[in-house]
């Protein structure tokens, strides 16, 4: 089933509709897909994310989330229940001073009974590996832990889709790894549809599909490996290759017969295979 569908979606922050941040995007995301959205700052990728859970409504065109039209105000509540969103700044998403109270916020909003909220908290903290911090203060956690709590807060509503709007951008490498592990697990084990907005190329490599945004348009769409193989196009959109892919391309350009590689591991493999040929 389709989780999200954009139909010639346009959005402008200006009243006169000029300078659209999203300019005619049409694409569909299937349930259970892990999609990375790449692009420079200001390419429209965050706007795209906010269109999915009806924080923004398209100026023209449509966005459907699990079949629901986001421009129908009456559906906003249901849409947000289906599509949860985690934001960039780990400090600006928590409402409560205690972890469990914060995770409870979403379930409280949708009016669940007490016992069910308790179960949801348990489930959500378990899914992000933060049970031990249930009674801690978010202010004392690391950035990665705070983002895991934010993910738990969204998970507790049991959405079908999870949108992460540059949620790893402000984290250190350890925090980024923690968050990526959690996201991948949710996608693999629970079939969660994941839309990951990022400008880290190595994160995009872990997705099933990558979409490149440029000036409000979705200009590339395909498997990450396929997209990174089109390095000239990427350069046109001001994106840089992951370092391993860059080295690999240099080798290939010099005539060395190495297979396409995107990670250090793949690169070592490729170089080894090539050197030991002789």
């Amino acid at each position: 089933m389709e989780a999200v569908r954009f139909e010639n979606t346009k959005f402008s922050y200006r009243d006169d509709g000029k300078d659209p941040a999203v300019n005619g995007v049409s694409l569909a995301i299937e349930e259970g897909e892990f999609v990375a959205v790449l692009g420079r700052n200001g390419s429209g990728k965050s706007t795209l994310a906010k269109l999915v859970n009806a924080l923004l409504v398209p100026s023209s065109g449509k966005v459907f989330v699990c079949g629901m039209d986001t421009s129908d105000e009456k559906l906003a509540f249901e849409i947000r229940k289906s599509a949860g969103m985690v934001f960039q700044n780990p400090d600006n998403q928590t409402v409560a001073s205690i972890v469990e109270d914060d995770v409870a916020f979403g379930p409280e909003n949708i009016g669940l009974p007490r016992e069910e909220i308790g179960r949801r908290i348990e489930f959500a903290l378990d899914a992000v590996g933060m049970q031990a911090f249930r009674h801690s203060a978010p202010a004392r956690l690391s950035g990665g832990q705070k983002q895991r709590i934010a993910i738990a807060g969204v998970l507790a509503i049991l959405p079908k889709i999870m949108i992460l709007d540059e949620s790893t951008a402000m984290l250190d490498p350890k925090g980024r790894r923690e968050v990526m592990e959690v996201i991948k697990k949710l996608n693999r084990e629970r079939g969660m549809t994941v839309i990951l907005i990022t400008h880290f190329m190595d994160e995009a490599l872990q997705a099933d599909r990558a979409i490149v945004m440029h000036r409000g348009e979705a200009v590339m769409d395909g498997a990450p490996e396929e997209i990174f193989a089109r390095s000239d196009e990427l350069e046109m959109y001001n994106l840089t290759l992951p370092r391993a892919a860059y080295v690999c391309k240099k080798l290939q350009d010099a005539g060395m017969p190495v297979k396409n590689a995107f990670t250090a591991e793949e690169l070592a493999e490729a170089i080894c295979a090539s050197l030991q040929r002789g």
Binding site: M85, T94, D101, F105, G106, R114
Partner: protein
């Protein structure tokens, strides 16, 4: 220094007092304050002190920790005490020294000690509340106690949410303030010298970015709350429910006894200057 505001002065421990209902504790603190003001003589204050010692012992908060909360307003206590000492001007029978309108008398001394003790007991008692209750629980308690006001359209839920968010953001904004201060200091800003106006002006490079950032955070938080299906108090449930237990009943009885005791002591011994008669009766007889 301000980094621990999330927990306020909260002192984590498992005790009788900690596990009381926050609503009950708020009501009890009010009762305690009433008792302190009702106490008309030193015997009453002694009874309150004894009561406080028992409560502190039951809370398992180290006594020094409770005393520390007094330290912060020690200046205030001393200041009022001194004013009272020199400017006490009611009926004075036992004058010690006088110079113009400034006079010291035994009455003034007793009045000063009485007032200082009262203030001291007030601060000690209320800090037992904040030491044994998290700000979150306090907010919940206040929200619950104010619930009747809902019927006169008072936005109780919104108020409680605002309080809880404010509490939650204090550490974040404190960190941010420190960071901005450091950043401007690195650019040569001087917050320590000059007169009041100069210093106030020096704060502009700190306050403006802080305000901008607070707005940015508020916007982010608004989005995050929307995304988590927040739509006001309607249809909302609460995860944490406050329930009265036997402890609160015990507390209720204790506080009733305290107030009754203080009133009885007042009737039996009279006002605070009764201490003169008492001393005279006990030590100067015959």
């Amino acid at each position: 220094m301000l980094n621990d505001v999330t927990f306020g002065q909260y002192y984590p421990a498992k005790s009788f007092v900690h596990s009381m209902d926050p609503r009950a504790k708020i009501v009890f603190v009010i009762a305690y304050i009433v008792a302190v003001f009702l106490a008309g003589n030193f015997f009453g204050l002694a009874a309150v002190t004894l009561f406080l010692v028992i409560i502190v012992a039951a809370s398992r908060v180290p006594f020094g920790r409770v005393l520390r909360s007094v330290k912060m307003i020690l200046f205030l206590i001393i200041f009022t005490a001194i004013l009272n000492l020199f400017f006490y001007s009611s009926d004075v029978d036992h004058l010690i020294w006088q110079w113009g309108i400034i006079a010291i008398s035994w009455e003034a001394i007793i009045n000063m000690v009485f007032l200082a003790m009262r203030l001291f007991l007030l601060v000690m008692g209320t800090s037992v509340l904040t030491l044994t209750t998290t700000p979150v629980a306090l907010t919940d308690g206040i929200e619950s106690l104010l619930k009747p006001l809902k019927y006169i359209k008072f936005p109780v839920h919104e108020l409680a949410l605002i309080m809880s968010i404010a509490l939650r953001f204090i550490p974040t904004l404190t960190d941010e303030t420190n960071r901005i201060i450091s950043a401007q200091k690195a650019r040569g800003a001087d917050f320590e010298t000059g007169g009041l106006i100069r210093r106030a002006k020096a704060m502009i490079p700190v306050l403006v970015p802080l305000l901008v950032s607070a707005f940015r955070r508020a916007e982010d938080l608004g989005d995050a709350m929307d995304a988590r299906c927040y739509s006001g108090a309607k249809g909302r449930t609460k995860y944490k429910k406050l329930t009265f237990t036997w402890r609160d009943l015990v507390g209720l009885l204790l506080f009733a006894a305290l107030i009754a005791g203080v009133v009885l002591l007042n009737m039996y011994f009279g006002g605070k200057f009764a201490v003169f008669d008492w001393i005279a009766g006990n030590f100067f007889v015959g």
